[in-house]
């Protein structure tokens, strides 16, 4: 019976630290607002603003040929809805001027000998001038360039494309469907790391730690009590993003919710571990915030949330594999969009567990119950 006493005391101390943390959180309006506000704001911003599905680009045309065929080309391009021809330019230099001035993002130049070029197929029949300062526009233009009329098979009676492209999982090609699930990870990375990073540093700054470390509370108990409430907050945020994603963007949930929450739990733990590690290194809250941003940016850029992971250079990919967000983005897209089970996604599950274990161990080792 006495053997249980230390365990019970330990649990009581963890409970006391966690309870105190929750009380403080509820009284800190700004932080509490951030718990709900950050997910909502981000989902609206990212969901509506990021749209890789580009339509209605302002375009100009300089038709030097004035033939039946050239008019068909313009009409087809217009029909694709990718471009809207808003100006007609009298010459190639005039078209370039429009592009330079930023009045159009795409210019179509049809040379006087367009018909002959199109028939011979030896040289490109027409030219697309693209504002290359925006990389996504370039991609769009490349898509336009392979339109049947612009390629060589003008004379052919039927236009059979070489490949038939079928878009799985996101047939309407809506960006929100890709972005919102991964956004869960981005939001958790930001809030979880920040909250925990600041949590211990704040106690140090306010002098609470000087008192706390003279008490019987152990480092591991302090850490456990600190992260407990944030795990719950993290799960609340997951729910907010899921519900908002469903209501605002009709993001599907094809896999099991249990799997999703388990994956989120693991990712939250990994993020909290990182936050605690930061809090043992940083001396002030300001430093803790800087360090958080320092880890947040690579996560945002290298995780496959912003740019396709497969398109990144090898070095960046290897760096990305070290970040928890990379694995979580794969997990959450897999579960929500492809309906995969957590069991099938094990290669992205264990790195999160390892990351959590490593950061927690380092944080506990690094945090001394001393002032020096």
């Amino acid at each position: 019976m006495n053997g249980w006493r230390p365990v019970l005391d330990s649990l009581r101390r963890i409970h006391a630290v966690a309870g105190k943390e929750v009380r403080q959180l509820l009284r800190d309006r700004l932080t509490f607002g951030m718990i709900v506000g950050i997910p909502l704001l981000q989902i609206v911003l990212f969901g509506y603003a990021i749209n890789t599905d580009i339509r209605h680009l302002r375009a100009g045309v300089a038709d030097m040929a004035h033939t039946q065929l050239s008019r068909t080309l313009v009409a087809e391009a217009q029909a694709s809805q990718v471009v809207d021809f808003v100006v007609a330019a009298p010459s190639a230099p005039a078209l370039e001027k429009l592009l330079d001035d930023g009045r159009i993002s795409v210019g179509l130049y049809i040379p006087p000998d367009f018909d002959r070029r199109a028939a011979s197929g030896m040289r490109p029949a027409a030219q697309l001038l693209v504002d290359g300062s925006d990389p996504t526009l370039l991609g769009v233009a490349q898509g336009l360039a392979v339109m049947p009329l612009l390629s060589r098979d003008v004379g052919a009676p039927t236009k059979t494309p070489l490949f038939e492209l079928r878009n799985y999982y996101n047939p309407e090609r809506r960006s929100a469907v890709d972005i919102v699930p991964a956004l869960i990870g981005v939001i958790l990375t930001l809030t979880m790391v920040l909250f925990t990073a600041v949590a211990i540093v704040r106690e140090r700054e306010r002098g609470n730690l000087e008192l706390l470390i003279t008490t019987p509370v152990r480092t591991s108990e302090l850490m456990a009590g600190k992260i407990g409430p944030y795990i719950v907050i993290g799960l609340i945020q997951v729910t907010i993003v899921l519900v908002a994603g469903k209501l605002l963007f009709d993001v599907p949930v094809r896999g099991s919710l249990v799997d999703l929450y388990l994956a989120a739990l693991l990712f939250i733990a990994a993020s909290l571990g990182l936050g605690l590690l930061i809090s043992t290194v940083a001396k002030t809250q300001f430093q803790a915030m800087q360090l958080t941003v320092f880890t947040f940016l690579p996560s945002l850029l290298l995780s496959g949330f912003m740019f396709p992971f497969d398109g990144m250079p090898r070095f960046a990919q290897e760096l990305g594999e070290l970040l928890p967000l990379t694995h979580f983005v794969r997990l959450v897209r897999g579960i929500l969009l492809r309906g995969a089970s957590l069991g099938a996604l094990l290669p992205d599950v264990w790195p999160l567990a390892v990351f959590f274990f490593l950061t927690m161990t380092l944080a506990i080792l690094k945090f001394r119950k001393r002032l020096d």
């Binding site: 105190k20 009380r23 403080q24 000087e210 706390l212 119950k369």
Partner: protein, 317 residues
């Protein structure tokens, strides 16, 4: 096995880089006493206290606190220690009751006893009316009572107080010291640091610390009687001119002005001091009434902290 000293140190030293904050301090503090550390700011009082409660590791030297070797056995010691930091270190965004309940849980007070202990503490330290007030919105004196209540909630055997009255009015200070003697009467050993003479004078035992060194130790009374100087009080219409005249004499160690009076500390071996001073002042054209008086604690403090390098002046009682 009974250890009758709450704290024993030998050669306790702490360096921060090139700076030696505490240099070879030897202490033997009996149980059940209110023991004071007197010294100017930056003398090393806080650093010593922090080493004794395991917050800082000594650079060298030994310390035994309640029989535990510090810092090796700091963990088991923590249950028996109370610590009141120099700056308020409870949670300003929690109420009085919440802060006390938090500390009760951290110290694993028995569940049944917890609420009654918290209630009792609030009564004893006049906090009952403030139970639901957030600590951050209270006055200096109220915060100090809360800090003491929190530090003593688990009935520690040893209580460290680091300049506890720095942000408190005189009335609250007197009340506070009454509470300390209550605790000491109950068997708690109290180590309190201060730079205030009236507080130091109330302690059972006193260590005067200057520039990291223990320069004098004993009961306040013994320290005052054993002072290595003669104390003369001079009443004169022009104390500033008199002060300037006295400072030129080799046997005058220091002169302090107290309103219209002067306190002069003279070398102990000065013969016929009253006559000597009266003569010096007469030659300077000053009328003065000089008499020898007994030393107060401030005289002791000035004596032991001002002229190191002179002969050693610490009386050890």
């Amino acid at each position: 096995m009974h250890e009758d000293h709450a704290i024993r140190t030998r050669g306790l030293t702490r360096r921060f880089g090139d700076f030696t904050a505490v240099a070879g301090v030897d202490l033997a503090i009996p149980r059940g006493q209110v023991y004071g550390f007197l010294g100017p700011n930056g003398a090393g009082k806080s650093t010593t206290i922090r080493m004794l409660c395991g917050l800082l590791e000594p650079s060298s030297g030994e310390a035994q606190v309640l029989g535990y070797a510090i810092p090796r056995e700091a963990e088991p010691l923590r249950r028996k220690l109370g610590y009141m930091t120099q700056n308020f270190s409870l949670y300003t965004d929690l109420t009085v009751r919440e802060n006390l309940e938090f500390m009760a849980e951290i110290f694993s007070l028995p569940r049944g006893a917890r609420d009654s202990r918290v209630h009792e503490a609030m009564q004893r330290y006049f906090l009952a009316d403030l139970a639901e007030r957030r600590a951050g919105s209270m006055s200096g004196g109220q915060k100090q009572r809360l800090a003491l209540a929190a530090a003593t909630l688990h009935a520690p055997e040893l209580l460290f107080l680091d300049e506890p009255t720095s942000a408190v009015d005189p009335q609250s200070r007197r009340d506070f010291w009454d509470r300390l003697f209550d605790l000491a009467a109950g068997g708690t050993t109290i180590l309190v640091s201060t730079h205030l003479m009236d507080e130091a004078e109330r302690c059972h035992g006193l260590a005067i610390i200057s520039r990291g060194k223990l320069v004098a130790e004993g009961t306040p009374k013994a320290l005052m009687q054993g002072i290595d100087a003669l104390v003369l009080e001079i009443e004169t219409p022009d104390p500033q001119k008199a002060s300037a005249a006295l400072r030129g004499e080799a046997y005058v160690k220091s002169v302090t002005q107290l309103g219209t009076r002067l306190h002069a500390l003279l070398r102990r071996d000065t013969a016929a001091p009253v006559k000597k001073l009266t003569e010096v002042l007469r030659q300077a054209g000053l009328k003065a009434e000089v008499k020898e008086i007994s030393a107060n604690l401030e005289d002791v403090f000035v004596t032991v902290t001002s002229f190191e390098g002179d002969e050693r002046v610490a009386p050890r009682a």
